[in-house]
């Protein structure tokens, strides 16, 4: 309790000293201000980027996704080509039947990049034949107010229905027209629009496209919002003329089973393809891995820079404290003469350093908010991918406590010097 009273008195005294030497105090704070500002701003921005990257990987189907695609046969198997029919619905049935850890299997039969027409308006996009499993594998959905997705019945009856990506729908239909139920022409054939996919940009993002120019979303998500989806059976029977698939999307129950699942799928497909490796399996793990490395590199380099500036800030504080003690040797002598103990002076000068660093830290936080705000603004102008970074109280608190620790460490040596000054010598000092 007594110590608390002493600390309180010392802090009040520290604030007064600060007030008495405004310019000097501000200069001594500048290092800490810059250090905290850069530390907090950088970590915040990096975290924002990391968040965006996570969303990107998620948009690619997350780390639970395995993609199976056609691949040219290796040279030594080329002469056996007719032994395999390529990817077909049989592969889908086989995987579903034999590998329970694969939760969803989404076969895709690409029709191609084709023209969509509605009442004289036209737009070109990719036509994909898919099944209901496409939604969970792609991590997409159809908002109930936006119709429905392709159903098993559509597959069964090879219906002429389609689901549009939001940007395609926005390009094909004027804003005052409800696309649902409209009949459009796909590669000359009539299809009924039964649903619109969710707009990816709107998903989990804080701010939508800054300029608002790309209808239904632009930037790196644009390609995800285009495309038209029809029942896979319709695609194979009415357009492609064969039941060959262009690829499979698989979703594993948990990311932990990924490697095991990859192995199982590969074995199963080799079996159905008569031992021919005319397919390739890819996962998002490599992407995620690259991104983790980038994240670490960013954190280390930016953290290093911020750490150095905080260290320099600490030296600045120590410098100013030593200068201030030199100026106030007589004051220290007087205080000792009237009864101050060494510990009183230690506390007094340490508190001054602490007050400088806390205030510097707080100003630094304010500056970092400004920096992040500006960076968000600039980045949004340059790449409209939505907001880059948002504030995290934990990071700010860490930045502040870091500055306080630096300030205290920097204050210890000057404070010890003040505490150990000989009062007689100090009083003689001119």
């Amino acid at each position: 309790m007594k110590l608390l009273i002493r600390i309180r008195a010392a802090v009040i005294n520290g604030l007064r000293e600060l007030q008495a030497n405004k310019v000097r105090s501000l200069l001594s704070m500048s290092g800490i201000i810059l250090g905290v500002a850069s530390l907090v701003a950088m970590v915040t921005v990096v975290q924002g980027m990391v968040g965006n990257f996570r969303q990107f990987v998620d948009a690619m189907g997350g780390i639970e996704k395995i993609t199976v695609e056609k691949q040219a046969l290796p040279k030594e198997q080329e002469h056996l080509a007719e032994l395999s029919e390529g990817l077909t619905m049989r592969d889908v049935e086989q995987i579903k039947a034999t590998i329970p850890i694969v939760r969803y299997v989404s076969p895709e039969a690409r029709v191609g990049f084709e023209k969509l027409v509605w009442e004289g308006r036209e737009v070109n996009t990719m036509i994909n034949g898919v099944t209901p499993d496409w939604l969970p594998v792609a991590k997409r959905w159809v908002d109930p107010s936006q119709g429905r997705f392709i159903s098993d019945l559509d597959i069964l009856h090879k219906t002429d229905v389609c689901v549009l990506g939001s940007s395609i729908s926005a390009e094909l239909f004027p804003p005052n027209v409800d696309p649902l139920g409209k009949v459009i022409r796909l590669k000359g054939k009539r299809f009924v629009v039964i649903g619109l996919l969710n707009n990816i940009e709107a998903q989990g993002m804080e701010i939508r496209s800054a300029s608002g120019k790309g209808k239904g979303g632009g930037g790196m998500w644009r390609w995800r919002n285009s495309g038209v989806y029809i029942p896979i059976s319709t695609a194979t029977s009415k357009f492609n003329g064969n039941d060959k698939l262009s690829g499979l999307g698989l979703q594993v129950a948990t990311g932990d089973d990924l490697n095991y699942a990859v192995e199982q799928v590969e074995r199963t497909l080799l079996q159905t393809h008569n031992g021919l490796k005319d397919f390739t399996l890819t996962t998002n793990e490599q992407t995620l891995d690259d991104f983790r490395k980038t994240e670490t590199a960013f954190k280390l380099s930016l953290g290093g820079v911020a750490g150095i500036s905080l260290f320099v800030g600490g030296i600045g504080i120590m410098n100013v404290m030593l200068a201030s003690i030199n100026e106030r040797i007589r004051e220290i002598g007087v205080r000792k003469a009237v009864g101050a103990r060494g510990s009183d002076l230690f506390l007094q000068f340490l508190s001054e350093a602490a007050v400088i660093s806390v205030l510097g830290g707080l100003i630094g936080l304010a500056v970092s908010m400004g920096i992040v705000w500006i960076m968000n603004y600039v980045l949004m102008q340059a790449v409209p991918t939505g907001v880059v970074a948002k504030f995290d109280w934990i990071i700010m608190l860490q930045g502040l406590s870091f500055s306080v620790v630096i300030g205290l460490i920097a204050g210890v040596y000057p404070a010890i010097r003040a505490a150990n000054l000989d009062p007689i010598e100090a009083l003689r000092h001119e």
Binding site: V334, A337, V338, G339, A340, S343, I424
Partner: protein, 228 residues
Amino acid sequence: MGSLATIRGLHKTYLMGDETVHALDGVDLDFDRGEYVAILGPSGSGKSTLMHILGFMDTPTNGSILFEGEEVSGLGADRRAWYRSNRVGFVFQSFNLLPRLSVLENVALPLLYREDYTEAAREEAAKVALERVGMSHRLSHRPTQLSGGERQRVAIARAIVAKPAIVFADEPTGNLDVKNVDRILDLLGSLLAEGITVVLVTHDLSVAAKAKRVISMRSGKVQEDRRQ
């Protein structure tokens, strides 16, 4: 009255380069409560060293000091700080008021280091002490706004605020004009009535003449101890 301090065989030696300096070379003295003493001597006579040791700012190399019945010659730094804040007051030639603090805060400063005073009690005690030296009308002034005589009165208030047993005045009139010298010396003399022992440390005979007892020092020894 009664005895305040008894000094026996006090030695203080410094090492200055290779040379040993005997600042105090066997001093025996007795101080009573409420005494008005002047310690007279040229610079280098040991009078400042004696004041510093008796004022708990320094420790002797050898010898014993009984202060209020307790042996204090070997006290550690914190214990000596306690004596400085509870039993001793200092008045300096150059006043040594802290320029950033107001008059009231300067006077309350010694109590800041005592745990038995609340903020309100400190202020109250400082006001009483300032009243005692006739400076109640300048509470919120800064020292730089005061004349030399006024500053020294504030310094005396600071020296007596903690109700000390002894006040040391080190050349208290050295920076004052003639008009103020007498006022300050009279003010110091008036402290005796409160049982405070006042020790004037000076090389000025006319200042020493004000005291009831003059101790003359030379080369670290008491040359003469005369009551007048």
